[in-house]
């Protein structure tokens, strides 16, 4: 099948290459690497068409949203805003496979990088550590820390795939690290698993129970197929298990882990945490920073308790151990506690058309037309509060990035403005 399609794609240039008998030509290699034929599927009548994944993605997204809101609909939900997350990346033999382009390893690294940035963006008070599995052994790449750059640098430096994979070793290592974390922090593990088996030195079931006992929330993202042990691990520890279909899906699945998960009930005790809000130190003055032990000019913060100099926020003061944040960080963490309600899907029935026409045929967010191909009304959603219509892209954007509804905001604003004027 693949051979035929390949020829189809490169058909027009075949004449030139006919005498080129040795190996595959340069032009051909491009197609082989690209695998463009995999993005095609045959429909009922035998015609080729690109695989239409947008509907699937949207359905997945809605399910996610519903799950979140169903959880939120219960009682006042508590979320762990201070998270201690270990990302475990499986760099075993299977990570060298080429079904993700250019290789699973590279794709994983790329998206983990994006994830780390997004994670700190959404959870400024949290910390990440990196662990890799290689040759059946788990290695700590970086310890828990709040600086995205250090993690990314450590991650990108070590890209090679070797040997077997061992889930148990990784869990044991992470467990050791996370056990020392203070009790108000939420312990999480996110495992990117590309292998299909795990070679363990002992009984992994015991390790899973140990993790469950110390309240580690383990989530796994598989890269090839569903594995029983991963599913079991996630079920036991309350994490999410998902398997990526392709690269885009992998990215989505990863980013799903960026917002904080609901706290484990018995673990969610309200706590007071001592925090410092350091001020930006005097520009132009020279000082040795406590984090890198280097002399730097300006651009730093001063711990309010011990007056040590740090470069980045948020962090923990290396001298006195105070958690140092800035107020925008706290504010940014809030939207997780007050999410916007999911939008209702508008059924594409003609009876509802009148109502719809009244409100206009354009998406309130991006002003694109909501009429789909063939003058049929395309899929769209509506906000429960302001009753404005939105297209699917805006729906995702509003819920996942913007965190407020433009419709509702535009109703409220005149009021607040007028109030202020009074």
């Amino acid at each position: 099948m693949s051979n035929q399609k390949k020829r189809l794609n490169g058909g027009e240039r075949e004449d030139e290459d006919e005498d080129d008998a040795e190996g595959i030509g340069e032009w051909e290699r491009a197609y082989v690497d690209d695998r463009s034929w995999e993005a095609l599927q045959e429909d009922e009548s035998g015609l080729l068409r690109p695989i239409d994944n947008s509907a699937i993605y949207h359905a997945q997204y809605r399910r996610r949203l519903r799950m979140l809101s169903a959880a939120a609909a219960g009682t006042r939900i508590q979320k762990g805003l201070i998270r201690y997350l270990y990302i475990v990346i499986d760099f075993s033999r299977a990570a060298a496979e080429m079904d993700f382009r250019p290789s699973r390893m590279a794709v994983m690294a790329k998206h983990v990088e994006a994830f780390i940035r997004e994670f700190f963006d959404q959870n400024p008070l949290s910390q990440i550590g990196l662990v890799s599995i290689k040759n059946g052994v788990a290695h700590t790449l970086t310890d828990l820390g709040g600086s995205p750059e250090t993690h990314i640098k450590a991650l990108m430096g070590k890209l090679e795939a070797l040997g077997d994979s061992s889930l148990q070793n990784a869990l044991e290592l992470v467990h050791e690290h996370l056990n020392q974390v203070p009790s108000y922090g939420h312990r999480e593990v996110l495992i990117l698993y590309s292998a299909l088996c795990t070679c363990d030195p002992g009984d992994i079931m015991e390790t899973i129970q140990k993790c469950k006992k110390s309240k580690l929330r383990c989530s796994v993202i598989g890269l090839s197929a569903e594995m029983f042990i991963c599913k079991h691990l996630c079920q036991e520890t309350g994490g999410l298990y998902s398997v990526a279909v392709d690269e885009v899906h992998l990215k989505d699945l990863l980013l799903e882990h960026a917002p904080p998960p609901p706290a484990i009930a018995e673990f969610a005790i309200a706590n007071l945490i001592k925090m410092g809000f350091p001020q930006r130190a005097a520009e132009g003055s020279m000082a040795i920073c406590s984090c890198h032990k280097e002399v730097k000019i300006g651009a730093g913060y001063m711990c309010p308790r011990c007056k040590a100099r740090v470069c980045d926020l948020p962090t923990e003061c290396t001298i006195c151990g105070l958690t140092l944040v800035s107020s925008p960080h706290l504010a940014r963490s809030y939207h997780h506690l007050f999410p916007i309600a999911p939008f209702d899907e508008v059924p594409a029935l003609s009876s509802l058309n009148d109502n719809r026409r009244k409100l206009g045929k354009n998406c309130f967010g991006c002003q694109q037309s909501l009429i789909g191909t063939g003058n049929k009304p395309g899929p769209c959603v509506t906000c429960r509060k302001c009753k404005h219509f939105f297209c699917l892209d805006c729906d995702i954007y509003i819920h996942e990035s913007l965190h407020n509804c433009p419709g509702c905001e535009s109703i409220h604003r005149p009021k607040s403005v007028s109030l202020m004027e009074e």
């Binding site: 099948m1 299909l196 363990d200 594995m227 029983f228």
Partner: protein, 758 residues
């Protein structure tokens, strides 16, 4: 949920029902209404058992004026327990909604080994010795001995049961084997004899096929069942083989030697009795004069084995004069053994019909057909008279008499085959004389005749029109149901070529081709690296499996497989295989992943489920044809062609394909499950083979998957596994409902049955 099917109110213990379950009930109800037999094929994992049980019990409740009885036959004890557990659930539900009116008595019946609670008896290792140990304690003459005799050991449970004879009853309810044992222990009654007694009174009986099909057992256990009985054979795809086995006997040299020893022992016993208690032998003689019909005067517990021929064949005539005396009978048996021994000395394969066998027996050993016919009953009577209790030691002579009676009774549908050595090992002499039955309808005929409805059901009964011919009956309903699915959770593929485009097959001339062996190996190596957890492989025979694994070992393919997954192999040893299976499951559980090499038609293929992660992929290497040079098979094929006009080729393909379907069907046991099936042989792509697969597999076999090479199969498998790992909606979308609620059913009842289901 409670809903109506025509005039019957059906009590179903779950809130939702699958559409095919509903349809199944509708068809079953029609068969019950028509008081006829039916054949129903429904894929495994669709809740066949509960649909069946809930309809039949509800049907019974709706017609309480003439209540029907249900006999549910299963193949294994494990299945029996599962059925009873479901029945319990259903019964609780019915009692909750209908009150005391719905109470029934349902019991499971099994051998002494599974039911006995006497620890001393249970210490025996196999079934026959448990039976013998029980008889030693419960036979009437043993119990008649004075109680203070220190050599006599009685079973307390049986004594208590006999003492409370009238009061020893089971209150209504559903009893699994475990419940029976617990009940027996609590009241001090023997659960086995209690269960056997309650069989006559119970509303539902769950037991093994043999209790109905094997005439030796059926004569005792099932003889007094009422006509208004529904008999269900579950997992009945092999029912013809069970029928045939029930009437086939094979005699080897060891059997003859054992029989000779038994005869010597009997001889001694006779002499001893002559000296001490000659009256007994005389009493037996007079009894025999009056005919065997008087067997009933012996007490119930002493009847242990009935005649192997079928009930209607036992003539109500007197035993021939020349075997009435014990000594004469022993002489006859000696001559018979001698004759059989002489026949076993042959150097050629011989095949004979019963008629010519009997006539040559008559001319050479002077034993008439009529004498032969009575051998079994005469032996039985003699052993009772001689008060022999350790019946397990007397198995060889029983086998020989069994043989004699069958040869004497049936002139058609059987043949006698004598082989001096095993075909596969011609230099090791191992003579065997086989009386093989070719006609499956012989054993099952009395069941069809005696009972109102017989339901034959399984996950694989395709092609469904062949079964009525093989078993010679007329079903009023025969249907095959499809599985309604929320997603395409099975992915059958036909792999015809290796990655080098050379065809693969286990055809005789190709199977040892190194290219084929290598391609099969490569297929497995590739597959184990992309399939998670468990992979099961089926080969066509033990010898082929041994050969191919040895080659893979030499060429390093096995090593490559072991890098990904652990390898386990089924052997002919049951204990070894059980251990291998246990470790296989553990390897799948802990994430190491494992491959299980097994054989079609083996124990594993028939009875072990590889559901969920225990089997994500099953590879069927080759088409599992029977060993076509086997004399027995050839004789059967000839018989089938002459009698039922079934062509040899048709029958062989049918048999091979039902085995293949059975093997791959192990992988999926419920709708939430998913799995891939690879048929690795180019012959599967041919229409005559493929079309014999069950409908629920065929409907998922897309045209594009009919002629795959290894690399294409790999690609499909990758995509499939990724797709299946995604979360899904269990209830199905609006277009194709796969779970029906009460409202759906009511709506359906209004619009008519047919058009709403599909």
């Amino acid at each position: 949920m409670i809903f109506k099917i025509e005039d019957v109110e059906v009590y179903f213990p779950y809130d939702n029902i699958y559409p095919e379950q509903y349809e199944y009930m509708v068809e079953l109800k029609r068969a019950l209404d028509a008081k006829g037999h039916c054949l129903l094929e429904m894929p495994t994992g669709t809740g066949k058992t509960i649909a069946l049980l809930s309809l039949i019990t509800s049907y019974r409740l709706a017609h309480l004026e003439s209540p029907i009885k249900l006999i549910y036959c299963t193949r294994t004890v494990h299945e029996m327990e599962k059925t009873l557990a479901e029945l319990k659930l259903l019964h609780d539900y019915q009692v909750r909604h209908m009150g005391e009116r719905a109470r029934i008595l349902a019991i499971g019946l099994s051998s002494r080994k599974n039911l006995c609670v006497n620890t001393k008896v249970l210490a025996a290792e196999n079934r026959d010795s448990v039976d013998a140990a029980c008889r030693k304690r419960t036979a009437s003459w043993v119990r008649a001995l004075p109680a203070d005799n220190p050599n006599v050991e009685l079973c307390d449970f049986f004594e208590k049961y006999e003492k409370d004879a009238e009061r020893a009853l089971l209150p209504p309810g559903v009893y699994t084997l475990e419940d029976l044992r617990a009940f027996g222990k609590k009241h001090g009654w023997c659960p086995y004899f209690l269960a056997r007694h309650m069989v006559q009174l119970a509303n539902i009986i769950v037991y093994s096929y043999q209790y109905l099909l094997d005439p030796k057992v059926a004569g005792i256990i099932s003889k007094e069942m009422q006509k208004e009985t529904v008999v269900v054979f579950d997992e009945a795809h092999n029912i013809d083989n069970v029928c045939i086995e029930a009437l086939s006997v094979s005699v080897r040299r060891v059997t003859l030697e054992g029989a000779n020893r038994n005869l010597n022992k009997i001889r001694q016993e006779i002499d001893r009795f002559k000296a001490t208690d000659a009256g007994r032998l005389r009493a037996e003689y007079t009894r025999l004069v009056e005919g065997l019909a008087l067997r009933g005067d012996l007490s119930g517990t002493d009847q242990w084995l009935a005649n192997p021929a079928l009930p209607h064949d036992i003539l109500k005539e007197a035993v021939p004069g020349n075997i009435r005396r014990a000594e004469h009978f022993v002489h006859v048996l000696r001559r018979l053994l001698q004759y059989l021994g002489g026949r076993l000395d042959t150097e050629n394969v011989e095949k004979e019909s019963p008629v010519s066998f009997v006539s040559s027996l008559n001319s050479q050993a002077g034993i008439e057909q009529k004498i032969l016919k009575f051998c079994y009953d005469r032996l039985h009577s003699l052993m009772l008279t001689l008060e022999i209790t350790d019946t397990d030691e007397f198995l060889p002579i029983q086998t020989v008499c069994d043989f004699a009676t069958l040869v004497g009774t049936y002139a058609r549908g059987f043949s006698i085959i004598i082989e001096p050595y095993d075909e596969r090992m011609p230099h090791i002499p191992d003579p065997i004389l086989q009386l093989s039955c070719h006609d499956a309808s012989l054993a099952i005929k009395p069941v069809f005749d005696r009972f109102q409805s017989v339901v034959i059901t399984s996950g694989t009964l395709s092609p469904i029109d062949l079964y009525p011919r093989l078993l010679s009956f007329n079903p009023v309903v025969s249907r095959s149901f499809k599985m309604s699915m929320t997603r395409d959770c099975i992915c059958p593929m036909v792999l015809t070529r290796g990655s080098d485009q050379l065809p693969v097959s286990t055809k005789f001339d190709m199977r040892s081709d190194p290219g084929v062996v290598r391609n099969y190996g490569k297929l497995l190596v590739e597959m184990v690296s992309i399939v998670p957890d468990g992979v099961v492989c089926f080969f066509v025979s033990y010898s082929y499996m041994d050969g191919i694994i040895a080659t893979w070992n030499e060429t390093g393919i096995l090593k490559e497989i072991m890098q990904q997954k652990l390898v386990f192999i089924e052997t002919q040893d049951v204990v070894e295989t059980t251990l291998a299976l246990d470790n296989y499951r553990r390897a799948c559980d802990c994430g190491r992943g494992a491959v299980f090499f097994s054989v079609a038609r083996g124990k594993v293929a028939e009875g072990i489920d590889f559901d969920r992660h225990y089997g994500r992929l099953v590879v069927m290497f080759g088409v599992p044809f029977q060993y076509t040079l086997s004399k027995i098979l050839l004789a059967r094929l000839e018989y089938l062609r002459d009698t039922f006009q079934i062509k040899e080729g048709d029958f062989l393909t049918f048999d091979a394909l039902r085995q293949a379907a059975q093997c791959v069907g192990r992988v999926i046991r419920s709708k939430a499950d998913y799995g891939m099936m690879i048929f690795a042989d180019k012959r599967y792509s041919r229409h005559d083979k493929r079309s014999k697969l069950p409908g629920w597999i065929l409907s998922h076999l897309r045209d594009a998957h009919l002629n795959l090479s290894t690399d294409m199969a790999i690609h499909i498998a990758r995509e499939f596994l990724r797709k299946m790992a995604q979360p899904y909606d269990k209830a199905g979308t609006l277009g194709s409902k796969t779970l029906l609620t009460q409202e759906d059913l009511e709506k359906m009842a209004e619009t008519g049955v047919q058009d709403m289901v599909y």
